[in-house]
């Protein structure tokens, strides 16, 4: 039980004495943050549509036009968002497919958070996962599927772990701040990917631009026919369970949380802070590496093959992962939920741009707003005093909550 409540303290917004109502406040804050983000998104959507804006020009002589057009636009766009993420079995599997790498990389960032490390390096670690996963995927031929996929995934995880471990090692041995070192390692990984892609080892024969060959069929993650639900999603859920098990049920997990909570106390208690830092960053890197491998081995609906390795292949997964971990409050279950939410937004966002012609950046904007509101609980409680009343009954919680946000 003591372990349980220690974990609670690390992750909830306002640690205090009454877990039940605190959790309620946390959930309500998140929900209100969601609603607010979508409201702001709706405003941006209306403002960015010239047709609707032109109707606002004569708002006072005929307000019905403007309001009607704005309402239609919002209904159409959010309708498309929901249809594209939940509207059909195919849409649901698109959501799980988009969520898969987000969950894995989010777990990596969340695990590091729990050790008190701010892992900005998910991007670089995922790039390594993608490089190694794709290379094993296309360079080995004639290997049975049962061997090919695990080999690609394990090597990707290993390289991601090594890349994350570098930052952990630098922090443990030299005190180099992991934020700086992981950002720099991101750039190095991105540069190396660009370089590899123009070497004969990686470049597709017959092409002069930086792109790799198609991966072998035996390395493509198996999927449910006609959908995008692939084995990677199962692996993501397993990874979430494994991280939960590690953090809550093992000595190492206890050490990670203890170091995250107070490294000096952990050291005094006889734990090796350096060792825990290296291990936590390696595990985080391994999870991000898995995310990268999933991006180059998960088949698309259209071609039944994954996209070929190219310079923008992992997109911004390492940065999205930070928002997923923040929204999921660094808890595995929360990260799965946040990953699914953002996966749904990515899946539905595509339908939204295609059908409602909203700017493609809109879903990214809404995601960012969600995290912004979640990370600024005071703003939300300022808007909705019902939450504040409950909280101000416990004055002790206010200063602590600040710390949580910065962690």
């Amino acid at each position: 039980m003591t372990e349980e409540s220690a974990a609670e303290k690390v992750v909830t917004v306002a640690p205090g004495t009454a877990p039940r109502s605190r959790r309620w406040v946390g959930v309500a804050t998140t929900l209100i943050a969601l609603v607010l983000a979508f409201l702001v998104g709706a405003v941006v959507m209306v403002v960015s549509d010239p047709n609707v804006v032109s109707k606002f020009a004569y708002f006072f002589s005929r307000p019905g036009d403007a309001l009607g057009a704005a309402w239609d636009k919002v209904v159409l766009a959010f309708g498309a968002l929901i249809r594209g993420s939940l509207g059909s079995w195919g849409a649901v599997t698109e959501t799980t497919a988009q969520a898969t790498p987000l969950i894995c990389a989010g777990l990596g960032v969340g695990l590091a958070f729990r050790a008190g490390l701010f892992n900005i390096g998910g991007q670089g670690q995922a790039i390594w996962g993608a490089i190694v996963g794709a290379w094993i995927g296309f360079s080995l031929t004639g290997v049975p599927m049962a061997l090919h996929i695990p080999l690609a995934l394990i090597c990707a995880i290993a390289f991601g772990a090594a890349w994350g471990g570098i930052a952990g090692f630098l922090k443990a041995r030299t005190g180099a701040h992991e934020v700086i070192s992981t950002i720099m390692l991101n750039h190095i990984a991105g540069g190396l990917l660009g370089y590899f892609l123009i070497t004969p080892l990686f470049q597709m024969p017959g092409r002069t631009d930086p792109i790799s060959p198609q991966v072998e069929w035996t390395a493509v993650l198996p999927r449910l026919a006609g959908t995008r639900l692939h084995v990677g999603f199962l692996l993501a859920l397993l990874a979430a369970f494994a991280v939960w098990w590690l953090l809550e049920r093992t000595t190492l997990g206890f050490q990670i949380r203890a170091v995250g909570h107070n490294p000096h106390a952990a050291e005094t208690a006889g734990m090796s802070v350096g060792r825990v830092t290296i291990v936590a960053m390696s595990l985080a890197g391994g999870l991000a590496g898995l995310a990268g491998a999933q991006m180059v081995l998960a088949p698309t609906l259209l071609t039944s093959y994954p996209p070929q390795l190219s310079s923008g292949i992992v997109g911004g997964v390492g940065f999205d992962a930070i928002t997923v971990a923040l929204l999921g409050r660094s808890r595995p279950l929360g990260i799965v939920g946040a990953g699914l939410l953002f996966g749904a937004m990515k899946a539905g966002g595509l339908t939204m741009s295609a059908e409602a012609q909203t700017p493609s950046e809109l879903t990214a904007l809404i995601q960012a707003l969600i995290v912004l509101f979640v990370a600024a609980p005071k703003f939300v409680t300022w808007l909705v005093p019902a939450l504040r009343d409950r909280r101000s009954a416990r004055p002790a919680s206010a200063p602590k909550s600040k710390k949580e946000v910065s962690a």
């Binding site: 009607g68 239609d72 002069t208 996209p307 190219s310 923008g312």
Partner: protein
């Protein structure tokens, strides 16, 4: 209780109203002739009914829907994607059809974006760029009821519902190279690309051959930097996303200028705008030749530095493909834009009209005729077959 929420809403609402002008409402364009157009300025009594009428009225004249998926670079690149996109816009305006577009930012966006367009019930999906070939071919095979057209890629073997729209821009770039060689005062001209892909290097090949032709017939010794047609290697914009890297384009152009180039041909989409900036910053010493579309229209602020542009008639080709699809006549025969069918060529000289001598203009016309007749053989290996 919820005072703050209301406060915020009130401020937002007030500012929204303040920002919107009190302009007059446009006249109602209802289909019923009996409704007078002069009611527009009347106050709110009739509003609810008229508003309903407008919504029904705006339903498109036809329910045909044409859609477009961009390459990385986006539809506002003043160049490649934008030119193709203009064809879609023209179709919307002239044919009264519904359109939709979606931008790709990375390789991994292509297949999902094409998929999303099929989900959006498009009748024809135009994909811009040969990088989308794999996704387009797979989509065309799986969706025989939808038409496809792909810019810069030939038609796919055995796929009847997809048309390739390709352009032999080596022919028009040859003219640009000849022009540049004739106009250069330093005896050095330069070019750079966004990526080493055939649709980019074809411009550079043609340009280099045009310069070489000028040297041959005029006995000049104009040097091309930034591209070596023999080794097929040259100067490209650096970075992860080179076509978007405007600063990189400027640096690359400045490198060429530092080596003495006084006319540059950037073939790099938005990154090429960096080249125009570098040319403009030279204060008239260095000028540029733009590609894909008339730069004096798409990037008018740089017009004073643009001698001419090597246009690639993607807008016309896209428009015609949509028109054919609408009539149910789209075939899988590729469209090949050449000097002969004016699918590619040189744009007007605009501000350089007087600086290009009549003699030179006549020579260019003669070269055009020679290329069409086959007297001059274009050697670029990147040409569409």
């Amino acid at each position: 209780m919820k005072k703050n929420l209301f406060k915020l809403a009130a401020v937002l609402g007030a500012s929204a109203l303040a920002l919107t002008a009190c302009a007059e409402a446009p006249p109602e364009t209802t289909t019923e002739p009996s409704v007078s157009d002069t009611v527009a300025e009347e106050p709110t009594t009739e509003e609810t009914t008229t508003a309903e009428e407008t919504t029904t009225e705006t339903a498109a004249a036809t329910d045909f829907k044409a859609c477009m998926v961009s390459d990385s670079g986006g539809f506002d690149d003043k160049s490649f994607n934008e030119t193709a996109y203009n064809g879609l816009l023209q179709a919307r305006d002239d044919l009264g059809i519904e359109t939709a577009e979606i931008e790709s930012n990375a390789e991994s966006d292509f297949a999902p974006n094409v998929q999303a367009m099929i989900g959006a019930n498009c009748n024809i999906v135009v994909t811009v760029g040969f990088l989308l070939a794999t996704a387009t071919e797979a989509a065309a095979k799986q969706n025989p009821e939808v038409d496809f057209a792909i810019v810069d890629n030939s038609s796919f073997e055995g796929v009847d519902n997809a048309k390739g729209l390709i352009f032999n821009t080596a022919e028009s770039s040859f003219l640009a190279g000849y022009l540049a060689a004739a106009m250069s005062e330093t005896g050095t001209v330069g070019t750079f690309g966004g990526a080493k892909i055939p649709t980019v290097t074809i411009f550079m090949d043609g340009f280099a051959q045009g310069v070489a032709h000028h040297n041959e017939v005029k006995g000049t010794d104009v040097n091309v930097i930034g591209w070596n047609a023999e080794t097929q290697d040259g100067q490209f914009v650096p970075g992860d996303d080179p076509f978007q890297n405007q600063a990189g384009g400027r640096d690359t152009a400045n490198t060429l200028i530092a080596q003495g180039a006084d006319i540059i041909l950037p073939v790099a989409g938005p990154a090429g705008l960096g080249g125009l900036q570098a040319a403009q910053a030279s204060g008239g010493k260095v000028n540029a030749i733009w590609v894909d579309t008339d730069g004096c229209i798409s990037a008018a602020e740089y017009c004073s530095s643009i001698i001419t542009s090597v246009y690639k008639g993607m807008d016309v080709a896209v428009f015609e493909a949509i028109q054919a699809s609408m009539a149910g006549e789209l075939t899988s025969d590729p469209f090949v834009g050449t000097l002969e069918n004016e699918g590619t060529g040189l744009s007007p000289f605009n501000e350089f009209e007087d600086k290009v001598s009549d003699e030179l203009k006549a020579e260019l016309d003669q070269l055009t005729a020679d290329i069409i007749s086959g007297d001059i053989v274009i050697t670029s290996t990147a040409q569409p077959k």
